[in-house]
Symmetry: C2
Subunit: 506 residues, 2 copies
């Protein structure tokens, strides 16, 4: 960025300070999830509220507005693709949105979500939806008010979706999800009739946590996650977070009787982290130094979790290492047997454990419930029953309790309505990127068949990661693949993969 | 605190925000020491610098000055011992000191110490003083400039000492340290002639880290550390930290061949943490909600590490549990044999591993070197040799390398000159408090003889902990013991204890 632009430089300094505040808050959030004692939450919520408020004050200050206007004038002739132009567009849009929220609202939101996060964890543990209900009513209210503040034309939900997936419309998501559902349901149906084809019993044994830890670390390194710029911790609800390009953290959750849960959570979070570790250093400490949308972010996590992590090629390279970590459990298992087990398709209760086909049904359920909550068609009190009805309708199963149903995800406690659909968008983007990468560089498929992700990662670095938030998702997708978002590559991928595994005629 | 004082209430709100900033910085520091990846330090230093700078701006703002002045006027008739009067005195003094530092200095200090901390850890690891030297030269410069900014009359060092031990003078420390040295040296000498009386070989065996972890947790609970408001982590250089009364963390370092190192570090940090966990909730989120001086803080850590943790009574209660954790190592050892081993007196290289008698010689060395560095009589280049000479002079031994000599402590990398003497002051205060506690409540000694700290902790809570920073150290000491600081109780304690252990005629 250019020294001949004093206002722009001064703006950058302010953005760096703002970024430090956001990253500090991220560290406090990380600490809350990874090691804060149970009684620390009230104080932590106050600290986070103060940091959020100081950041909000900075964004909405006249000093920042003046600096931004002066910098825009100074850079008026910058090339539209330049870092400066991308940054100024991004900042203008982001600040104008944030300025619409009164300071009292920002404080209230931080206090409500701070308390709701702890209440959710406790309610899930005790399977007590009623204890969480008043908190959820407030976070729904936050979402409804946010939608009004942000504004919308067609769907109220558009305003929320736009926070995570800029430029995406609810109507477009509905249409593409309808396609995914229409094509997936008969496939799931056909597989359901041949469930016994695959036995995944070998995945459910006793697995020493220490050995799981060691193998998860191996897996993270196997896909290129850089531990000199990262850290793997243990939490209840896995997530990844970035405190800057050189400190991008991942988390996982170990289950003593189901090792692949922690493993695929690790690979999933690695995908997110590879994105953040791959952003161009020139963008550091600016709002562009983060993934551009939740859908694109999710494309990276789902790509490494599924398209890489559940591929035969990956396991042909790494299964011997897994066997060495768990000789009693996997010593007598073949790699194809293991590969089939980790790809078993079967309707199940927990989203994060779902196979690649039924996963999207979990998302479609949440997408429909969120729209109803936000519009007011559904009240929180009736949500558990609506969840049970939806699971029965979409997957033919009913959760035995709320802990395995409506209470399973953290998102709603954080008022993150509009986020869930981006998981399925991520699946679709992931398939598009894999498809394009392999078309553009035939060596990628050859390497992947040997479990080597080097060339794939290089392609992602070049076409996705390095850009950070320079381009919105639709533009990034067009540049990387030459196409707008489409479900076709995903549907081709699942038909080919599961058709072969289940010997179906699709 | 009182609703009838609107200015005072408004000041409190500002102090809460300021406290949130300080506590956020403390979380970032904790994370840096406990899990930050090596490449994360540059970004972390920037984040800490921003938080420090925002706090400094808040303290030095005219808004804060106006609020403070208005609150002082409003509370002019408050009782001198009231929370409000204590807080306003404390804040007035603290803010006036902080206002003397220009913002550029605050930023520079944060940047220098951020880089120096990482450089020190690396230099110590590689035993490379030359690599650390330029960083240390800058932190010495920070100390020298700070002394000039803060001002002093007799000794330049007074200004630095005053940051950690308000009201204490260098001349007074010199005098009391001379007494400690004069009385300790012949005792150490006499013991040196009977070194073979105690064999501590049993402490140096292989100890599984998992079992060490479990026992350290037991030890922390045994002295009343509350894990629902705390967390024990692993670091290179143990410390404790508080993010508020309900979240006070401790750390330790495990050595596979020397279990009591982690154990006594844990008990030491527990002492600090018990102080912070015991502060009155009414003081929360104000500058009074922290220990009043480093010396008083250290009195609590040394009290639990030594007067409790190295007592026969403690081990009569807990040795069986230790044996259960390490049956191969301690199964055949008697409690008196163990108690003697952990109290072996022998000149050694590492301060934090030193026995109760030679420990103060380590402090006297650092106190003398710091004064010489700050006055300019000693330059950093000559420090390693001065260290070796001092160790030879005070303890008759010479470190074989700088890692076990001048590079062993983190403090100087953080520009914390003036801190070291408070360790020995802590030893003296600890002995005074134990002495007074047992005189005031005969039940305390009875309980301690059974390894039970309940009444002792209650006495400390009442006379020390709850007050936070309401009173300066000399006033707190006078209130708790009826006396000013004196070395006599400490000297009586070591003469009695080590006289008995070594069968000396003292």
């Amino acid at each position: 960025m250019n020294d001949a632009h004093p206002h722009y430089q001064a703006l950058l300094l302010q953005l760096h300070t703002l970024d430090d505040l956001h990253k500090s808050a991220a560290v406090l959030y990380w600490d809350r999830e990874t090691c804060m004692p149970v009684q620390g939450n009230a104080g932590r919520t106050q600290q986070l509220t103060t940091l959020n408020q100081l950041a909000h004050e900075m964004v909405t200050s006249t000093r920042m507005e003046d600096l931004l206007a002066a910098a825009e004038q100074e850079q008026a002739s910058a090339a539209p693709d330049s870092d400066a132009a991308c940054l100024l567009r991004h900042v203008r849009r982001q600040f104008e949105e944030e300025r619409r929220f009164p300071a009292e609202f920002v404080r209230w939101r931080s206090e409500v979500t701070g308390a709701a996060g702890a209440a959710w964890a406790d309610a899930r543990e005790r399977n007590d939806f009623a204890a969480f209900q008043p908190h959820l009513e407030r976070t729904v209210e936050i979402a409804q008010l946010s939608a009004e503040v942000l504004g919308y034309t067609a769907d109220k939900y558009d305003a929320l979706l736009n926070q995570y997936e800029r430029g995406m419309k609810t109507a477009a998501v509905r249409e593409i999800f309808a396609t995914v559902k229409r094509e997936s349901v008969p496939l799931i149906q056909a597989i359901s009739e041949r469930l016994s084809t695959i036995d995944d019993g070998i995945l459910y044994q006793d697995f020493a946590i220490d050995a799981q830890r060691a193998f998860c670390r191996h897996a993270a390194e196997s896909v290129g996650y850089d531990f000199s710029r990262g850290h793997l911790a243990e939490v209840q609800h896995p997530f990844s977070t970035s405190f800057g390009i050189d400190d991008v953290r991942i988390t996982t959750r170990y289950q003593p009787d189901f090792a692949t849960s922690a493993l695929f959570a690790t690979l999933h979070e690695c995908g997110h982290a590879l994105y953040e570790q791959g952003i161009a250093p020139a963008l550091a400490r600016t709002p562009l130094a983060q993934g551009t949308s939740s859908g694109i972010h999710e494309s990276q996590s789902r790509l490494f979790e599924n398209q890489v992590g559940r591929s035969l090629g990956y396991w042909q390279r790494h299964f011997a290492t897994l066997q060495a970590h768990f000789p009693a459990q996997f010593g007598g298992v073949s790699v194809t047997q293991f590969h089939r087990a980790i790809n078993k398709v079967q309707p199940s209760l927990i989203r994060v454990e779902a196979d690649e086909l039924t996963y999207n049904m979990h998302i479609i359920l949440r997408f429909e419930l969120e729209q109803a909550l936000v519009s007011g068609d559904l009240v929180v009190r009736d949500l558990p029953q609506a969840w049970r009805d939806g699971m029965q309708d979409l997957l033919g199963i009913t959760p035995p309790d709320d802990a395995q149903g409506v209470l399973q995800d953290v998102h709603w406690s954080q008022a993150a309505f509009g986020y869930f659909p981006t998981y399925t968008l991520g699946n679709l983007y992931a398939a598009m990127f894999m498809d394009s990468a392999q078309r553009q560089d035939a060596g990628i498929a050859e390497e992947l068949a040997r479990g080597d992700v080097t060339r794939l990662l290089a392609w992602l670095r070049q076409h996705i990661h390095q850009h950070g938030s320079r381009f919105d998702a639709p533009e990034l997708c067009r540049r990387a693949t030459g196409q707008p978002l489409t479900a076709e590559p995903f549907l081709r991928y699942v038909r080919a993969k599961f058709g072969a595994l289940y010997d179906l005629d699709v």
